[in-house]
Subunit: 280 residues, 2 copies
């Protein structure tokens, strides 16, 4: 037999998906639901926690529990990087008009807000290995969050690391008043003579820490996507390492891998291999 909280969660889940509980609507209070289902408060809360982890409901302390309005999903694509690189070649005016986040979300620039905070720090073992520099090297750390002005919670919170002495070639890069960097990171790097050759994205998933859940406006239990973005320039040097935490229920990463087409000769080899299999 399934547990009580599983059955209650399944029942409420069905009621939300069928529309009998509507998005944005306030649900009955926990104590009321407890009486409805005839269980203890702890059991009732456990069922609700499960739905909150799935992103179906949202609890607001002091206000109530609400059926969640499906949130805008952000699709972050690979093409974004080439687009950023191309944009470096645009005029300043053109660059100011649009930003990468806007491209992903389809929002207007006016609807987007950035917050940034700059710090100096030193490379720990783990970061030093990625940069291929000695541990303890001075770094420029830039903490930022991107949000829509229509929603309180940011899409993601990020930390970008640059080697301090490299970034210092353009003192403007050290100044947090220049946020958001007009034209994106790749343009900023171009001001210090850096052209990117490739970007490596490493993606993992995990539950959020309490601070991350608070910052992203998600309930504990909702997963986050963790993206480490490593930018490598044309001299094969790691120039930026960025860690971004994205709300799992609002983000979709899309990566396209283009495959090398076969030559006529290769196509024949593939066909021959098929015949070989048929004999076996």
């Amino acid at each position: 037999m399934a547990t009580k909280y599983d059955r209650i969660a399944a029942d409420l889940r069905q009621r939300i998906k069928s529309g009998s509980l509507k998005p944005g609507e306030r649900m009955p209070a926990e104590t009321s639901l407890r009486d409805t289902y005839g269980v203890s408060l702890v059991t009732m809360r456990r069922a609700l926690d499960q739905l909150a982890a799935e992103g179906l409901i949202e609890k607001r302390h002091g206000q109530g529990t609400f059926v969640r309005i499906p949130r805008q999903r952000i699709r972050r694509t690979t093409e974004r990087y080439q687009w950023e690189k191309d944009r470096v070649l645009c005029s300043e005016e053109d660059r100011r008009r649009t930003g990468a986040t806007e491209r992903d979300t389809g929002l207007e620039l006016a609807d987007l807000q950035f917050e940034a905070e700059y710090r100096e720090c030193v490379a720990d073992e783990e970061v030093a290995e990625v940069f291929k520099i000695p541990a303890g090297t001075k770094l420029l750390e830039r903490i930022y969050r991107t949000r829509s002005s229509k929603e309180v919670a940011p899409f993601g919170i990020g930390r970008s690391l640059l080697v301090y002495d490299v970034a210092a070639k353009n003192p403007e890069l050290l100044d947090s008043n220049n946020e958001p960097w007009p034209g994106g990171t790749q343009h900023q790097l171009s001001t210090i003579g850096v052209e990117l050759d490739r970007i490596v994205d490493e993606v993992t998933a995990r539950p959020p820490s309490a601070e991350e859940a608070l910052a992203l406006g998600i309930d504990a239990g909702v997963a986050v996507l963790v993206l480490r973005k490593i930018s490598i320039d044309t001299t094969d040097r790691v120039v930026e390492v960025a860690d971004v935490v994205l709300a799992g229920d609002r983000t979709e990463m899309a990566y396209t891998t283009k495959l090398r087409p076969w030559s006529e000769a290769e196509r024949k080899i593939a066909a021959a291999n098929v015949k070989q299999d048929d004999r076996a």
Copy 2:
């Protein structure tokens, strides 16, 4: 003030990371820990659940709570797809020797086990849209899981969909006894005259369902990565849609985006844009 369970979790987390609690070691029973920390059992369990969600400990019903042995992390790279395509051109013997999962994990083929199950099904609205076919079209559904024989839990569980009438061109593809498809999916597709042009990976994260948590051997709360892999052939037709669920604490996806290098002329434009900024 932080909550009791947060402080207890933080304390145990520190003791695990510092090594005072060693990997594989059995921790004191919940009732014993409850007395140690002087809290109720519910609070103690809540702290432990937090650590289980982080993948630091593992609860085994009837046995105890164990410090988790850090698991082998699987790195799934973009290069894998080109490698699979190249492998179609290899001899059957070469292909049999190695598989894609092996490539990612570094394990020997003998250590890997596959399980597969074939079914016919029809396309629902959502899948039909991806395939760009009418809903209700007959599909070949292939459920599989990959695991190391050294670990009980599989790396991932997946579902691959092919248009039935397309796959039926080679009756061997309909036979589950041919698992694992020697040479990988791309080779199988080549037997029905399909050459892939590109693969789109869509990645999201969410908490696992109860069944997924069980199947992947992770505690509830550990996040899963959900990968939808869409294979498109040289005629721009969607030939395969695969959904793979991967344990978030054991999987890392790595995607490399190669950027188009600037021409000499473009490099000058980039430099000119920098001067423009300085004037502003």
